[in-house]
Subunit: 365 residues, 4 copies
C-alpha cells in the first residue's frame, strides 16, 4: 500500500493482485506522441544550455501567440515549484495567500509555498464547490488589519479546481474586483488549465489576463509531458529577475530544451486542447455510465476531467481487487477518478462495468 | 484608533477622550520594582557582553534551582522570537506543528514560526476551551501519512491558554502520552506560565519536565520585566548549538545583563509567583464583581489572569468613552480584560462600576 | 576564557585574576543617565503596547527633526536584527550585498543577513582601511552578469568602519555615484554612526540621505542605551510594510516604550553627540598616550572611538594579568580597544601606564 | 552573446555566425541511446506517480548494487537542487560549509545552498588545483570558535573538481581524518563523478563511503540523461525524512519514472563508465593535440573531461568566428573545453586544427 498526493491512499500500488488500471490521477499517463516527437527532435543535435537553445525561444514565442500578448514565460520542473515560485515572487515573507481550503498549495505541497517564500502564510477559505468567492476573500482580508497577522497579498485560484469544478469568466471577474478593492494580486494554479479552457470553450487569454489573472502556472505534465510547467507572467514588472529566482531554487534545467521542445508538441495544432477535450470527454463518459447505478453518487459537478464519486467501502474494495487505482477521501466514502489524454473509452467502460458489479456484490452480501 | 495584538482593536488608543485605563493586556504594565532594582544594579558598573557577564550566569543558575533540574536557559527579547526559535530547533522546514486554532503562534505572530523554521506549517485544531485534546492531536497526526503534507513533529501547548483556561496536570500527561505514540515533541508557550503555576498551585517542575514538556518559553515581560523571555530546554540534545541560532536570528543581546539581571528580581523571593497570584486574584475580583450584572456573561472559565466577557456593543462603547482599553472579538460581542502584577483593586472596582453603569445605560436606551 | 564578537578572544573574562577593566567594546558600558531618566519616566505609568504608546511617537518625531526630513523610523532590539532586516527589505533571496571583507555583517552576525533574507549572498571586497571604494564595488558588479550568480543589489557601508576609520562625505558621494550606475541601494551600518558624525563634524542628514544613503541602522546600544537600534528609511517606498517584517522576525517589542523612551534621552540636548565626542576623545587620548612607546604601533588611523594597536604577545599577556579586556586579531599581534560614553580619562591613563610597563617587562625578559 | 554558468561568457550563442560546435560544457550534449531506450520503455504504459512506479525501485536497487552497500537513493531534477538539498539535510541555518573557492556551490548556484538551508554560510578556501586540503580545512575550522560566526559543519568536495583535477583516494582519506577531528560531515558534489571514477579506475564504493563520504550527488545529466541527479546517502540517519524535504522543495517528480528509468540505461552494462571514459579520452586527445602549439598552455592537469587552456584573446576570437562555444575566465586569457559522452574524435581534431590556425593568424598580425 502506497501513500500519495491527495493526502489519501492509492489503491493497488500493490500491483501483484491484478494488472493495474490507472485512473488515480492524470499524472500516471506518459508522454503524448506530439511531445515525444519534439523530445526526440531536440535530441538530434547538441545545443546551448540553460535555455539559450533554439527550442526554448520557439516555445516561449508560441506561448505568446497562444495568449495573444507579450507575456513572460519561464519553464520549471513541476507544479510545486511553479506555484511556490510564482507566489514567492508576489509575496514577502510576512504576506498571506488567500486560497481555498482544498487548494493543492494548502493540502498537497508539503509546505512548499511557505518554504519558497520563507514564511508566507496560506489563509484558507472554506466555500462550496472548491471555489473561492468574493465574499469569502473579503472576509479573510477584513477580519484582521493589524501587523500581528500576515497581510493578505495574493488570491490563489485553482482552475479547474481540486474537485473538478470550474470558475466561470463572470466568477473570475468578480474575484478580480474584490482583489482590486484590497490591492491583491491573482495567481492561477493551472494544473488542469487546459481542461478548464476546453470545457468552458474560452481562450487562454480570456481565462487569464483578460479576466485579471496576474500569473498563471500552466501544467504541461498533466497535459502530456514528462515534466515541465510554464509560469506565465502577464505583468512584466512581476517577472523582474524571476530567472534568478528559478536558478537559485534549483529550477533552471541545464538541458532546458528537453522541457521546452516537448511544449512545442503540445502547442502546435492545438494538441494541448485536443488532449484536454479528450480527458474531459472521458470524464463525462464515466459520469454518464454510472448515472443509473444505485448507491453511487456524483459528489461535485463534473466540469473538467476529474470525477468524485461516493462509493460504498465494500465496493471500493471490489474495485481494488480488480486492479483499479484511485484516491479516496478518508472517512467520507469518496473516491476520485481522473481522466487523461490517453484514457481510453474501453478503460472507462470497464470501470463502469466493475462499478456496477461492485454494487451488485455489495447488495448480495 | 489603533490596531494591535489580539487581531482586534484596542479601544482608546486615542487617549484624548479620557485618561486611559489599561486592562487590554498584561503587556501594558511596566517593570516591577524587584526587576527594576536589578536593572539598576546591573548598570552600576561595566561588564562583559553577550551573556558573559556575572548576572546572566546567576540568573541561569536560579532557573535551574527553580526547575529542580539541570536545564538549559537562553534569554531572548520577546515571545514571538522565543516561540519561533524553540519551534525551529524542534522542526525541519517540512515538519508540522500541532497547535490550537486560537494559539498565539497561529493568530498573532505574523507568520513568525513559519519564518524562523523556513516553512514549518502550523496545523491548527479547534477543540473546546482553547485547549488541545489527545483526540484532536491524534486526528491531525493520523489523517495524513504521505509526503505531500508536512509531517507532524511538535505539539505546542499554551499554558495558560489564550482564553485564560488551564491544562490540568492530568491533561498534560494525557497529551504527553499521545505525543509519545506519535514521536512528537512538546513545546509550551508560557506567555502566562507564572499565572498557570500560581493558579494550579503546582511547581514549575511539575508543570513542565515532570509532565513531559520538552521546551518551555517562560515569559518575563508579562510578569514584570521590560523585555526578556527565557527559553528553557529540559533535553540538552534539543538545545545543541541553540546559542548560534539565537545569535543568527538577532536575539543575542550584547548588553545581555539588562535582560538577565531583572530576571533575578523575579526569581528571588518568589516575586514571579507573587506577581502572578496578584494578577489572578484581580481577575477573580473582576469575575465576582460582575457576576450579578445582567447582560454580561463570562465566556470561558477564569482560571488565570484573563477575563473574557460578552458585553453588548453599546455597553462596549460606553466603556471606551470612560477610557477603558480592551480587545474585542470582532463579530462576537466579546471583550478581553487581562490583569497584571500592578492591576489595582481600585481599577477592577472602577471597571465593575462602569460595566454596571454601561448596562444600565443600554437598558435605558 | 570566553570567546566573543570579533571572532577573537576576550581576555579576562576570568575575572578572578584582577578586577576587570573594560575596553573590549563599547557594548560593555551600561545605560547613560539621560537614557535611564527616560526609562524610569516611561515606567511611571502603564501605556499601550507595540509602539502605540506616547513615547514611541515622540522619539520618532525627534528622529525626523534630527535628520531634517520625513524619514520612517523603526526600533528593533539589536544590531544583527537591524542590519539583517534592513537588508532583507532591500533584497530578494537571489540578490547580493556588496560589503567590506571586515564588515560586521560578514564576520560577526553568524549568517544573520543570509537568514533574514532567505539566502542573499554577501559579496565581500578587500580594500584598504576597512573601506569600500567605487572601484572595488564596480569590480564585484561587473565580474559577473549571468543568472548563476547572485545579482548585486545593495552596497553596505559601515560608518565608522570596523577598524575605526571613516568615509569622508566625498567618499560617500563617490560610492553613491557608482551605486547609481549599477542600480544599487545603499545601506549604512551605523553601529558607531554617532562617533562618525562627531568626528567628521557633519550632521546626520549630511551623512545619510544627502550623501545618498537609502537606509541607516543607527545604534543606540553603543551610544548609551541598554538595547534598541533605530532603522531609518529615507525612502518611504523601501519602508513599505516594514512593520510586518519586524513583527514576524521577533523584533516588535510589546513594551516598546522601554526602547523608544530612552532614545529621547539620547536625542535631547545632543546627548548622542556628547557621548560620541567623549568616546572619540578618549580614543585620541589613548593614541597620544602610547605614541612614544616603542614596540606598540597604531594599525589604522584612529578616526572614531576604536584603537587598533600592534602589541607584542608577551605584552598582551601582561595586560591580561592586569585585568584589561580586549579583542585580539588571531595570528596578527593586533589588539582592539574601544572607548565608550563612560570611558574615563583615568582608565585610559591606566592603560597607557600598563602598556608602557608591559613593554618594559618584555624588554627585560 | 549569452551569458551562462561558469560566470563567464559563452561564445557563439549567436549561432548565425557559423554552425556552432559545442565544447562549452558536457551539458550541451543530449540523451545517450541507452538512456533514451529506457525513457521510451517507461512511456509504453501508465504507471504510478511520485516514484511508486516499477522503474524507480529498479533504478534504486541498481544503485545499491553499484555502490555495494545499502545506501538510500533520491532522484531530483538538477545539480543545484541535489547539492543544496543534500547540504540542507546536513546543516542548520547557522552552520557553515567549507568548500573550495571555485566550487560550483560557491560560484554558480546563485545562492542555492544558502536558500535551501535558510542561511548556511559557505566558507570558501583558496588552495591550489581547485582542491581542498586538510590544512585549508583545519584553518577555517580553527580560526573562529565563537557564536558570532557560523559553525563549520560540512566539508564539500567536488570530484572531479571545477578545474578538471582529481582527489586521489589518499587525499580523500586525509580529508576524512581532519573532518573527524572537527566533527564535520563530507558532501561530494559528483557533477563529474563518473569521469573521476573512470580516470582513477576506482569503484564508486571506494570513491565514496569507503573514503568517508557521507552523501554523494551523482550527476546523470552530464553523463547522458536529460535530467536527473541521484542523491546517495551512505548514512541512513542523515537521510531521515529526506523525501519530505525533496517534496517541499519542488523536487519530487510526479512522473518520476522518466527520471529513474533512464538511469537504468546508464547503470546497466556500465554505460555510465563507458560514457565517462570516452569523455575523458577526448579530453586527453585534445591535450595531446595541442601540446606543440606555441602560445597555448594547459592551465591545470587534465585528469577528467575538462581542459583549461590559456589562449591569446585574438585566437579566442578566431575560434568564436569558427563557431566554437566555450567559457572564458574573464581577465585571465583562459578558456574551458569540456568533453562529453558524444564528443567525437573529429570534433576534437577540428578544434586542434582551428586552434593551430588561430595561433598562426595571430602571429601573422
Amino acid at each position: 500500500m502506497t501513500t500519495s498526493g491527495f493526502g489519501n491512499t492509492v489503491a493497488n500500488s500493490d500491483i501483484s493482485i491484478a494488472s493495474p488500471r490507472f485512473l488515480a490521477s492524470d499524472n500516471t499517463s506518459g508522454i503524448c506522441p506530439e511531445a515525444m516527437h519534439y523530445l526526440l527532435q531536440a535530441n538530434e543535435q547538441d545545443d546551448l544550455a540553460y535555455g539559450n537553445d533554439v527550442w526554448t525561444e520557439r516555445a516561449a514565442s508560441r506561448f505568446r501567440t497562444l495568449f495573444e500578448t507579450d507575456c513572460e514565460i519561464f519553464f520549471v520542473f513541476n507544479g510545486t515549484a511553479a506555484n511556490s515560485l510564482a507566489l514567492a515572487s508576489l509575496c514577502q515573507s510576512y504576506h498571506g495567500v488567500i486560497c481555498h481550503q482544498l487548494a493543492h498549495i494548502e493540502t498537497d505541497e508539503c509546505g512548499g509555498p511557505e518554504f519558497f517564500s520563507n514564511g508566507s502564510k496560506l489563509l484558507p477559505v472554506d466555500t462550496p464547490m472548491g471555489k473561492l468567492t468574493p465574499e469569502g476573500i473579503a472576509r479573510v482580508v477584513t477580519r484582521r488589519n493589524d501587523i500581528h497577522y500576515p497581510r493578505p497579498r495574493v488570491v490563489s485560484i485553482t482552475q479547474a479546481t481540486e474537485v473538478g469544478t470550474l470558475y466561470s469568466l463572470d466568477e473570475l471577474q468578480a474575484i478580480r474586483e474584490v482583489a482590486d478593492q484590497h490591492d491583491l494580486k491573482i495567481h492561477m494554479d493551472g494544473a488542469r488549465f487546459a481542461n478548464a479552457c476546453a470545457s468552458l470553450n474560452v481562450t487562454p487569454a480570456q481565462m487569464t489576463w483578460k479576466a485579471g489573472v496576474d500569473v498563471l502556472c500552466f501544467s504541461g505534465t498533466k497535459n502530456g509531458l514528462a515534466f515541465g510547467e510554464a509560469i506565465v507572467f502577464f505583468d512584466h514588472e512581476l517577472a523582474r529577475d524571476f530567472e534568478y529566482r528559478c536558478k537559485q531554487a534549483g529550477q533552471l534545467a541545464s538541458k532546458m530544451r528537453f522541457v521546452s521542445a516537448p511544449w512545442l508538441g503540445l502547442l502546435e495544432n492545438d494538441t494541448w486542447l485536443v488532449n484536454a477535450r479528450h480527458a474531459n470527454a472521458m470524464a463525462q463518459r464515466l459520469v454518464e455510465g454510472i448515472h443509473d447505478i444505485e448507491g453511487v453518487n456524483v459528489m461535485f459537478p463534473v466540469q473538467a476531467n476529474s470525477v468524485f464519486l461516493e462509493v460504498p467501502i465494500t465496493a471500493q474494495q471490489y474495485l481494488r481487487d480488480c486492479g483499479w487505482t484511485f484516491y479516496t477521501f478518508i472517512g467520507e466514502g469518496g473516491v476520485r477518478f481522473v481522466c487523461s489524454w490517453n484514457t481510453s473509452e474501453a478503460l472507462i467502460d470497464a470501470l463502469v462495468t466493475d462499478l456496477r458489479q461492485a454494487l451488485v456484490q455489495r447488495d448480495q452480501q
